[in-house]
Symmetry: C2
Subunit: 204 residues, 2 copies
């Protein structure tokens, strides 16, 4: 087995880039472990030592590759909400589409740990909260700007965020039984009309 791995690494070195170099493989292992720990524990409780242990390497190696815990966090959280192009979607379907996309991004085909990391850490870490506000401003408000009257984009986007982040909070972090135990489709059916109203409905 060691021999097989050796050959494989050798292959990796010669083909250059198709396979990853050894250092890049451990870098990726560190990033993977970091994402899982940050997602499960939040920034403060996740320690360099526990991340290194999960990646089966020495803590010092983490510093060698990522300089500091903060820099590791920044590298681990490269947020892309992957918001779909909504231009061709009928206006009355926008709420359902966005809600389903959001759930899919958290627990479906598009899911990874990044959103969990961001939300869990933003609550106690002002820098991460800053990051989340940036993501929000750049990605959500931008999409909404094309749908809503200019003056209303930020307001409507914030309302959408309050419902969708509230959904994530109660379903994934707090796991309230009334919402965490139901199917993705059922929850989406309940929430979608709210999002629809925030996107396109009349507001007082």
């Amino acid at each position: 087995m060691t021999f097989g791995l050796y050959l494989w690494y050798g292959d990796a070195m010669t083909t250059e880039g198709v396979r990853l170099s050894k250092s890049e493989r451990t870098k990726a292992a560190i990033l993977g472990a970091a994402r899982e720990q940050f997602a499960r524990q939040g920034y403060d409780r996740a320690s360099i030592r526990s991340i290194a242990a999960q990646a089966s390497i020495d803590p010092a190696l983490v510093m060698r590759y990522f300089t500091s815990k903060e820099a590791l966090f920044a590298a681990a959280v490269d947020v892309d909400l992957m918001l779909p192009d909504l231009s061709g979607v009928p206006v009355e379907d926008l709420g359902a589409r966005l809600t389903r996309h959001f759930l899919d991004r958290w627990e479906g085909a598009l899911s990874d740990d990044v959103l969990m990391i961001l939300l869990r850490s933003a609550v106690t870490n002002e820098q991460v909260a800053d990051r989340l506000r940036s993501v929000f401003a750049e990605q959500v408000v931008a999409v909404l700007a094309r749908l809503a009257p200019p003056g209303e984009a930020e307001r409507r986007a914030a309302l959408v965020a309050s419902q969708l982040l509230g959904l994530a909070l109660t379903r994934y972090l707090l796991r309230l039984p009334g919402i965490a135990s139901r199917s993705r489709e059922d929850v989406a059916a309940d929430i979608a009309p709210t999002v629809q109203r925030y996107l396109t409905g009349g507001l007082a």
Copy 2:
């Protein structure tokens, strides 16, 4: 001044209970400092030492009175949502009433640090999350049980929680500009119809 204080304490001891005994006054000072620190920093980042410093006493005294950090937290967080009696309220006003009460509980006349403590800490601390689930089950679901068909209470309560906690999350913790900078009344007007629908509206 010292003399005056001494007289005041003397008075406290003789009238028994109208004024607080010295130990109960420092106990209260510790609790106050603890609530503020827990609210601002969350359970993990708030330290016994910083709480003691804010109360101008020695860290060891905190242990003397509250045994451990966990026990101090439990004492500091005695949650009462102060949910109003909704029995006399017209059904169509329930959403607005509940939404306004919630905002009032966070930032108005009924506000204290307890909800902030609970939410901020529940996100990274499973025990606190447990506590929040209990509060939710005992207080919110109980009120809803009298308004909704038996089988729907938990589901509707969770939907209400997803919107109202989402509001608290985006307004008080993340402070998204589109929702944190607006007036209480404006936000209530946007959110109330959603809550109304979750409480009494038709769900698919």
